[in-house]
Symmetry: C2
């Protein structure tokens, strides 16, 4: 799918604020409602726009600790990976999980209330997985930037 300049403008706006109305967008890019509507629907259908979500404030929900876990598996086989992946998908405190290159196998991002909850998560949920051999924890001291906006 080819994205022209108008598509890109629409995407930039919608990335910022999913509650912009078609009229808002139409005004900002000097078009009528129809093409804006058609383009947004097309972008949704093609999967360029994956979904619309609400971003909540972690701290106001009581999640005051963010950590990265660098995980090494016991074996680098497909079955071991798949088992680990499935387990991770079930854990709501794991908000990111990527299989990576380097000295460890997975990089995880965990959002959790406090150190005590992390201790529990580490000891009772993560390290007990049969696929997990080693966990190295990197604590976030201060968040500088966190955005869902992709460069277009």
């Amino acid at each position: 799918m080819v994205l022209d300049d108008i598509d890109k403008k629409i995407l930039r706006l919608l990335q910022e604020n999913a509650h912009y109305t078609l009229k808002d967008i139409a005004n900002k890019i000097n078009l009528s409602l129809t093409p804006v509507h058609d383009r947004v629907k097309r972008l949704e259908k093609e999967g360029v726009i994956e979904k619309y979500v609400s971003i909540l404030n972690k701290k106001k929900l009581g999640n005051n600790l963010t950590v990265y876990c660098q995980v090494t598996l016991t074996k680098q086989t497909y079955d071991t990976s798949e088992g680990f992946n499935q387990a991770i998908l079930e854990m709501p405190e794991v908000v990111e999980c990527n299989y990576v290159s380097g000295n460890f196998d997975y990089m995880l991002k965990i959002i959790i209330p406090d150190m005590e909850s992390y201790h529990h998560f580490h000891q009772k949920k993560l390290s007990v997985l049969p696929e997990v051999s080693l966990i190295n924890t990197v604590f976030v001291i201060s968040e500088v930037k966190s955005t869902t906006v992709l460069p277009i």
Copy 2:
């Protein structure tokens, strides 16, 4: 601010899909429009709901490479940190940046078209910052999980 069970149900729904209508939500939690409307407005006003955004598909935008950069600064002073932070905020390919504990100072997440773009970013944008002393790159081979949904 105290969140009761109804607030939490609303937040869980809106985290999933910011385009649920008040009616959708009202139906799902067996309430009329009024309390749903009032609660959503209150949650927005209190900052529990920070914003509504559209999630775009990275690959469909041509961003096929994700990497973590582990950055060590030249000095651990406030001014050095602040200088680095400001520079990072200006870089659209950096979607996450956290000051962390451990063997390095910052953990960055970079979303970028390909290895060539990363090479350019690394050499011409990141390593040239006067605050940066060392960069260790961890390449994402495969994305297992990536969510904006926080545990409630």
